[in-house]
């Protein structure tokens, strides 16, 4: 599969009478976008706000972040199986409004939505303080239950991203990157002397607010499988989870998976990136065993030399991570895992819920329990009413002067386990 990503840089968003892109500014018509979103009968109202890098703005509670992209050549459309018809994506050309993002917020669904600060100390921890964000504040109708509410907000985010992406269809990209993912045998033929490297991407699949979808299928109902990394760039994987906000992959991070991009950078030079395997993290032990067995079998079947395994979440998924690591290592394959830590506020507690001696090469996204003080912001998009009950908050964590104390786990993307950020710990 060969995919060209054409980037149209966006450095500003403004509201306007109609939606279009001019220069590096994205103009958005609230009316047009409202019409698109209000097709969903579960939505009572939606309002929009813009948050730009450096603004004294806080967005909370954040559910998902999505990058506007559009498929301009090749099979399928954006978010196949969810918004577009089920069809294999990952080939042809896709245009990207690079630097823009859709952020969904609104009344809380559960305990777990996050915080994005556009400036100040919190901004250093979230990658989305650097994007120009169009924020959707979504209010569901009375009586919409939790599962429906989550689905409604998720779909609204995807629809808005697809709508904005569409504006890039006819634009001339400033830069084009080409990613080619060859069939295994061809790949080995072309790079016979390079180590065969795979990427095992674990998808959160634990239920409400903890789900991920692959071509529209709930990942908990899947067996591990091979996928081309270019398919993922075209929105084949979308996020239905945001708990805890620090180490869940928003859809944006799936679209821009940094492990995929960094493996491609070394591909053909130091390694042969020839396999991407997706697996899940279910709530039944039998599922954990079955999925990790299957993942290791695939790695062994492909005779990989090395594998990077990324976790999503923490706690019982640490067991999935350790099972994957041990079973893949047992095949004689070299492994590196990426995770994050819950070592207590002072850092002196046990970091992971599970451990295994095979896990001797670990990259960490940092200690999610570390406490940070966030200053009062001039503008809050969404509401701060929930900062005491989101994961990483606590009762009365907001002081009279408006400052908020939270653990890093409340900040969207702070301790990314696909290595999207720079945070680490020792």
């Amino acid at each position: 599969m060969k995919l060209e990503l054409g980037y149209i840089p966006i450095t500003n968003i403004e509201f306007a009478e109609r939606s279009y892109v001019e220069g590096s500014t994205l103009y958005v018509s609230k009316e047009e976008l409202s019409d698109v979103l209000l097709q969903d009968e579960n939505i009572s109202s939606v309002s929009f706000a813009i948050a730009l890098p450096g603004d004294k703005t806080r967005i909370t509670p954040v559910k998902d972040v999505i990058e506007p992209r559009v498929k301009v050549e090749g099979k399928g459309g954006m978010f196949p199986g969810v918004l577009s018809k089920v069809d294999i994506v990952g080939s042809g050309r896709t245009h990207v409004l690079k630097g823009a993002a859709v952020v969904t917020t609104g009344k809380i669904v559960g305990f777990q939505e996050g915080i994005i600060d556009m400036s100040g100390p919190g901004a250093e921890y979230t990658p989305f303080s650097k994007t120009c964000n169009l924020v959707l504040v979504i209010t569901p109708k009375e009586g919409v239950v939790q599962h429906e509410h989550e689905h409604t907000v998720r779909m609204a985010g995807l629809r808005a991203a697809a709508y904005l992406g569409e504006l890039a269809r006819e634009l001339e990209p400033e830069t084009i990157e080409t990613y080619e993912f060859l069939p295994l045998l061809e790949s080995i033929e072309r790079y016979p002397d390079l180590p065969r490297v795979g990427y095992v991407k674990m998808l959160q699949s634990q239920g409400l607010l903890h789900d991920t979808y692959v071509y529209g299928v709930d990942a908990k109902r899947t067996l591990p499988t091979l996928i081309s990394p270019t398919e993922v760039m075209d929105g084949a994987i979308i996020s239905g989870n945001c708990v805890s906000a620090c180490d869940k992959n928003p859809t944006y991070v799936h679209q821009n998976n940094p492990i995929v991009h960094d493996l491609f950078k070394r591909h053909g030079k130091d390694l042969n990136f020839c396999a991407m395997i997706i697996t899940n993290e279910n709530v039944y032990l039998a599922d954990k065993i079955r999925s990790s067995d299957r993942t290791a079998e695939i790695c062994g079947y492909l005779k990989l030399d090395g594998v990077i395994i990324s976790e999503e979440g923490f706690g019982n998924p640490d067991t999935d991570l350790m099972m994957n690591c041990r079973k893949i290592s047992d095949k004689g394959i070299k492994t590196v895992v990426i995770t994050d830590e819950y070592a207590g506020r002072d850092g002196s507690s046990q970091s992971l819920a599970d451990a295994d001696p095979s896990c001797d090469a670990l990259v960490t996204g940092g200690n999610a329990n570390e406490v940070i003080t966030l200053p009062k912001m001039d503008k809050v998009i969404g509401t701060e009413a929930y900062v005491g009950i989101i994961a990483g908050g606590w009762d009365k964590n907001k002081a009279e002067d408006g400052t908020i104390q939270v653990e890093l786990q409340a900040i969207t993307g702070a301790t990314s386990e696909v290595g999207f950020g720079y945070l680490s710990a020792r």
């Binding site: 239920g207 706690g315 001797d360 720079y422």
Partner: protein, 349 residues
């Protein structure tokens, strides 16, 4: 601003008195710098000076530790330093213990910053690494230049009240506490680099070494379960509806103790979960799915167990530090012992 004042501690060998045959000498105070102090001071670049040096025999210190500590403390205090440096001791065991013990003692008594340095396998490292900053050095004095540079750099940071970074940034021996830092490369790139090192058989350093899990031997079984008083405990976050104690949905800072006297089962009207790590709808619909009170009440009436302790204990196990959970259990276990509870059923989600 005048230069910071430092007192330096070294042993008889680095004090140029002699080797093992002079290890018995008691502590003595000398004005200014001696031996390794030269290398340290060169790295201070005028910002700090070594005003005095304590030289003490390694055997003397270790054989008369309490007395030596008091004597040396008095010498240090008199010089009114802003900071105390000991060693580096490299892999010299008794010297390492002396450096660690003395630095920890000065820090405790004089409340000034302290720095020492030693090789990771020096017994002094394990004994004192959680109390003080110990720069990780090579195993012999051949590493003096490097050690002096790092010790001096850390000392200056502490003197200027600058933020001390993670162990990998300052090169101190990890203190058993995880410290966050921003790396120069993003996580994915670090992972790719680590994998390439591993594939090529080259050295790599994991960012988190696997822990050793400690074990507690099992207690003898309950002799007569039909007469036993049993307590229910859960990490599944079951609380009375409305979460009266405001137990956090993640990394809980407390546990709840809830009266179940006369409660026959946990219904959706009266109980719910505060846990943020799993889909809460099933537990909210029927909390017996997490804390099996209904079944245990049946067993109580059927005479299969003696009785149920009248309180159950609950916390949220989601992202909750192991240390906190440990402290909660230590706490309520005292009550259980006092109330003569003979067994515990702990449920986790």
């Amino acid at each position: 601003m005048s230069a910071f004042r430092i007192v330096h501690y070294i042993n008889q060998f680095f004090g140029q008195i002699g080797g093992e045959e002079m290890a018995h000498i008691p502590p003595e105070y000398r004005e200014g710098k001696v031996g390794p102090g030269l290398a340290l001071e060169a790295n201070f670049k005028g910002e700090a000076v070594i005003v005095g040096t304590v030289v003490c025999g390694d055997s003397y210190f270790n054989e008369n530790m309490e007395e030596a500590k008091e004597t040396i403390l008095a010498m240090v205090e008199k010089a009114k330093p802003d900071l105390f440096i000991a060693g580096p001791a490299f892999n010299a065991g008794r010297y390492g213990v002396a450096c660690g013990a003395m630095a920890a003692y000065v820090k405790e008594k004089l409340n000034i910053p302290v720095v020492t340095g030693m090789y990771i396998e020096n017994p002094g490292a394990d004994m004192y690494k959680t109390d003080i900053y110990i720069i990780s050095t090579r195993n012999s004095a051949a590493g003096m230049r490097d050690a002096a540079k790092k010790m001096a750099a850390l000392a200056l940071k502490m003197l200027k009240n600058e933020k001390i970074g993670a162990s990998s940034e300052e090169d101190y021996i990890p203190q058993g506490k995880r410290v966050n830092l921003f790396e120069k490369l993003r996580g994915s790139e670090r992972a790719v680099n680590m994998l390439l090192q591993k594939l090529q058989g080259k050295p790599f350093t994991t960012e988190y070494p696997m822990p050793d899990f400690d074990r507690v031997p099992p207690n003898p079984p309950v002799a007569d379960i039909q007469r036993a008083k049993i307590a229910l405990v859960t990490s599944g976050g079951i609380v009375p509806k409305g979460n009266p104690d405001h137990i956090e949905s993640s990394n809980a800072s407390k546990y709840g103790r809830y009266d179940i006297h006369g409660v026959m089962n946990l219904t959706s009207d009266t109980y719910e979960t505060a846990h943020g790590g799993y889909d809460p709808s099933y537990a909210n619909a029927d909390a017996d799915r997490v804390v099996p009170l209904d079944v245990l009440r049946d067993f109580e009436m059927e005479g299969k167990i003696g009785s149920i302790y009248e309180y159950f204990f609950s916390t949220v196990g989601n992202g909750t530090a192991v240390k906190s959970a440990k402290a909660y259990a230590e706490d309520f276990s005292k009550e259980l012992i006092k109330e003569n509870v003979q067994a515990v059923i702990l449920t986790s989600t």
